[in-house]
Structure formats: C-alpha cells, structure tokens
Amino acid sequence: MPTRPARPTTRAAGARPARPVEPRPSEQQRSEDDPRIMLDREISADLYEPIPPYPTRTEREGEFYTRGDGEMFINIGPHHPATHGVLRLVLKLSGEQIVDVDPVLGYLHRGVEKICENSDYYHVIDQVDPLEYVSSLFQEWAAVLSFEKLMDVEVPRRAEYIRVLSGELLRIASHTLYIGFLALDLGGLTPILYSFIERDEIVEMLAALTGARMLFNYFRIGGVNGDLNHEFMSRLGDWMSRAAKQTEADAALLNENEIFVRRTRGVGVLDRATALRFGVTGGNLRAAGVPFDIRRAHPYSIYPELDFNIPTRDEGDSLARYLIRVDEVRESIKIIDQCLHNMPDGPVMAKLPRLLRPRPGRAWGACEGPRGMLGVYTISDGSDQPFRFRIHDPSFMNLETVPTLLPGNLLADTMTIVASLDPVLGGIDK
C-alpha cells in the first residue's frame, strides 16, 4: 500500500509548478477597446455581463434583474444546441413559467458596416453575403437595389428574371430549412434530414449557376455575374419535376403531427397591433393578419408582372407562422415556373465603368427576404466607397418581440417561439 505522499497535491495547499515560470507581466499599456483577448481566470466575470447585484444601468435592466419571490435566472447561453446561432437569452423563471427574458446579442458582431464603409461598391456586395448566410442572395439584392437607385442604373430584363429565379429558389431553401429547424428545436430529428436533402439539392443548383454553395456573390450592380448554363438548367429541371410533391411530403411530416401541432398552436401569439408596433415584417407579420409584402406593396424588379398570392393568416401563433412558410414555398414554385416560361433573351449585366463613383446622394432599397424586409440605406459622398452603409435586418426586429411573446409561457415554449420567428444571428448581429 503506497504511503500518502508528503508533498502538497493541490495548488491551494501550496504545490508549486515543476519548472520555473516567469512572473506575470504587469498591466500593460493597452487601450480598453483593444480587441485582443485577455482571459484571466480570476476575473472571468468581466467577460460576461454579471447577474446582479450590481448597479443596473438602465430602467429596463433594473426591472429585469429585480428578482421576485421564487424567481430564478436561467441562462440559455450563447452556445446551445438549438441551432439558430449564438444567441443568449437570460430568462427569469418562476418555477416553469417565464416571467421575463433579456436577449443578449453581439456574439457574432463582425463589424460589417464599418468594413463596407472602407470597401469598394463591388466589395460591399461580397461583404454583405454572410449576414443572413442562409439566404445570402437577398442581402445582395437589397444592397444592389440601393446602389442602382444611387447610380441610376437600369437592369436588363433577363438579369431581372435570373435574379427572381435564383432568389425564389433560395427562398424555398430557406423556408425548408426553417421547417427542419423548427422541428429540430421541438425535438423531432427527422424533418431536418429531409430539409437538408432539399437544401443541398437547391444549393448545388445554385453552385452550378454562381460558383459557390453558400455565400454566392452573384448579384452585381446592373445585373448578375453570369448567365444560366446547362448544368444549372438540367439540375433545375430535375428538381422542378419533383418539387411540388417533395414539398407536400416534407410538410406533411409535421402538418398533421399531433405533438407538433399541440406544441405550436396558440403559442406565442403575435397580434396585429403588436406586430406593427415592433416593426416586424415578413412571414411573421403576415401570420398576424397584415398582408404586407414588399413584392406587392412596393414592387421591385419584375414582380409586378408575375402572378402569385400573398398567404396571410389571422391567428398569429407559431403554427400560423409555420403554415405561412409552407404556403410561401408553393407560391415560390409558381413564380419559378413563370420565370422559366417567360425568360427573355439579352444581356445579363448593364455596362458600367470599372471605377464606380456615384454622385453624392442617398438611397434606400428594400427587398422581401424569407424573414422579412431587408433594407439597405446608402449615403454616397462621390468617392468609390460608400460613406455610410446601413443594413436593416428583419430578424433583428423579429427577435425584438421575444421579450413580449415569451413571458407567460412555459420554459419549453422558449424554443418554439424563438424558432418560429426564424432568427438568423448573422443578420441580427451584423
């Protein structure tokens, strides 16, 4: 039986390191906003916003961090398996029921607006892709709409048709993923696999067209980057022959699933007045009863010539939001059909100088993405870089309704509501 060792074994008891370690450097001259990391185990509280008691900074913070009887704080941290990204929700719970919620953003803030202010207009279109990475063509579309208004550029009709075609394909991919992730967050592990099959097909199609699977960098000011090609058309034809049936099959997995319906019906009701007050747009607003769709309300591109409906529902709960996305997939398939039938010939890009220097001015361009209205506000100062490039993201406004929708529900409804709003943290955090 070996004897108990005489030397201290824990650091607290005095165990010293086996080799000499240089003493800790004194506080270095470093500005407070130096983005380099200093990970200090003893002061790790600085990396997180501390839970009180600490003097609260704002009125709303004080209201949130005042704990009543039997209430507790639960942190759904930035790393969690619900795959919407790095979102942190601090919940105040009373038992199982949510009393209040404080979403903490910024874990994916990459400074895109600042980078865009120091980039060419062409580079801006590339930089704006990874915001809503799931549907990156819409980001480019909004930016390009704004730039085209700034520079008075007219887009050839074939380019417009190709834009609508690729955009609607990506809308279908995004909605299919939404359905899969909603089910995944509720615990259903099957629909996500079907969603990814569908999404992989569409994305391979777009890779044949644009060259990349995800961050396409395809739209240009005055058109698109390249014309349709054989591989894209053959893949598109294959997919279209199965698309309608596939969509119905994917949706049928969940539409009549009792667990899914009972978990989403009546949960997170966003009524019309609240939705308008919060500036919510897109499917969430249409599920609340407001038929506002930028493609009809303020048409851009060739949408005035296309025949499609705007699905709207009145209930405003999570089930309605889900059913609207399913309806929108059907409408998008209709639009793609029409685009293919009516595709005109012609150039795919307008002739523009290589050095783009628009006149000083301001322009706002907005398009309808899968999550809502994507707006871009550009100020030009006459040089080849935008002076101010502002992106308005729909998921930002959608997520803002969470502190209103969540309280009163049970803890398990958190993921239902957050997933049904379809947030994409890249766009929210810019």
């Binding site: 398996p81 980078i115 890249g426």
Partner: protein, 263 residues
C-alpha cells in the same frame, strides 16, 4: 505516412522546433521521472508498492502560447494534471500523461488510437455560416456518420473534437475558450472556414479574432469560405490520421500559427 510508422527509434523522441525549456522527464518532479523509467522498463507491468511516492504533477507541455498575449497575458497554465496516488494498489497508466512522459507506445495504445480516430465525436460549435456546411456534412448527402462522427454532442464533456465553424468574435471568445477548457482530454480542435483560420474576410474588423489559433491550439485548418462539406470530411479524415500517428503530436502543439518542418 503509414500508420504505425514511428521511425527507427520507435518513438519521435525530440519535440519539434521552437520549444525551449522542454525536457519533460527531467523537468518533472523526481517521482515522475522515476515513474517514466519504471514504466518504460515495465511496459504494462504493474508498479510495485513504494515505487511511486510522489504525486504526479504534470507540467504543462501541451500548450505553449506563441502569442505573448494569449492566456493570461503570456503565462500559460502551469499545471495540466494533478494525479494523486494511493487510490489503488496498481499503478494506473493514465493515457493523458503520455505527452509529458514520452512512454514508448504499445499495441494497446495503437488500438486505442484507432478507436479514437474512428469515433471522433464533435462538439456542436456552429457560430456562423460554416455551421451550415458542417450540418450539411453531417446530414444525408455528405454523411459524416460513415466515419463515426454522427453524434454532435451538445455538451463539451462528452465530445472529442471541437470544430469551430464560423467567425469568432471577441465577445464570443470567452465562452468558446471555456468550452475548450471544459472538454476532457484527449481533445482536438479543427478550424473550419477562413474566419477561424486567419480572420478571413473580417481581417479589418474591430471585433473579430483573427484566427482561433490565437486562443487555442488547432490541429487541422480547413480553409474555404465556406469550405464544401467534402472539404470538411477531408479535414476530419486528416485529423483521424493525425490521431493515429503518434497521438496527434501532442508535445508539439502550440497556440499560435504553426508551420510543420516538412513544408
């Protein structure tokens, strides 16, 4: 490089370049040196009573910060493991100590490495766009389950590989480093996508970390924006190869961009 090819001496005896102060066997406490000699002699024979009288204090030879500002401003964690003896009669061979003690690998270790390489369980660490390619790599079309990587664990305690997929911002770096520290050894880290390799398209940004190798040791870099799922699979297979070869070159892992000698 064939699996099991360990060179003429049977072990890669010398750590790679750039590591001063390293001779773990000598630098460790005398008890550990005795343990090393004993184990090297015995080759899985149990250690007799009285052979180990001192605790094993394993100095940190696993991670050394090339970047002077990583990890507490340049001071790496001094002690990686602290093992107390006296719990059993038999001296336990703890696999995590191999980095320090340079034990001659045996057949059992070889099989253990094969087991590890063929069932690397990743930790879900999808931060941004590359997460979708990681998920694509895990779902039906590019199935990573074929190589055993199906369960993307949500908990760091149960995972082997941390695939960092997506831009790491300074605000998120704290939680990510906590995740890395919470993962039990053996663990590996894969940098997926340009943003984690070197900062990528956010090289000029004020709030992103320019490559995760500034804050944690990376084993496999997979460039691309985003890399195709086939690229991810290739990277994971390379990691498996790395695991099988000499335990992933444990002593040579550094925080900071590392360039192998052979390039």
């Amino acid at each position: 490089m064939a699996v099991g090819d360990r060179g003429p001496k049977g072990v890669r005896a010398v750590p790679a370049s750039g590591n001063p102060t390293v001779d773990p066997a000598a630098a460790a406490s005398p008890g550990a040196a005795a343990a090393a000699r004993a184990a090297a002699r015995s080759q899985l024979a149990p250690l007799g009573p009285g052979e180990l009288t001192a605790p094993i204090v394993v100095p940190n030879t696993l991670w050394r910060a090339a970047n002077p500002l990583a990890y507490d401003g340049g001071r790496p964690a001094e002690i990686t493991h602290l093992r107390e003896f006296g719990l059993t009669d038999v001296g336990r061979r703890d696999d995590a100590r191999w980095g320090a003690l340079q034990i001659v690998p045996t057949k059992a270790d070889y099989i253990l490495d094969l087991i590890r390489a063929n069932s690397l369980w990743p930790l879900l660490s999808g931060l941004a766009c590359c997460a979708f390619e990681m998920m694509s790599g895990a779902t039906s079309k590019f199935d990573m389950d074929r190589w055993g990587m199906f369960p993307f664990r949500a908990s760091p305690r149960q995972s082997d590989v941390l695939i960092v997929a997506g831009t790491l911002t300074t605000k998120m770096s704290g939680p990510l480093i906590r995740l890395w520290e919470q993962m039990p050894e053996p663990k590996w880290c894969v940098a997926l996508g340009d943003c984690t390799v070197s900062g990528g398209r956010y090289k000029r940004s004020y709030s992103t970390v320019q490559g995760i190798d500034r804050v944690m040791p990376v084993d496999v870099y997979i460039p691309g924006c985003p890399p195709r799922p086939e690229g991810l699979i290739y990277g994971m297979l390379q990691l498996g190869q790395l695991v099988k070869d000499q335990r992933g070159h444990w002593p040579e892992r550094e925080i900071g961009p590392t360039v192998p000698d052979k390039i």
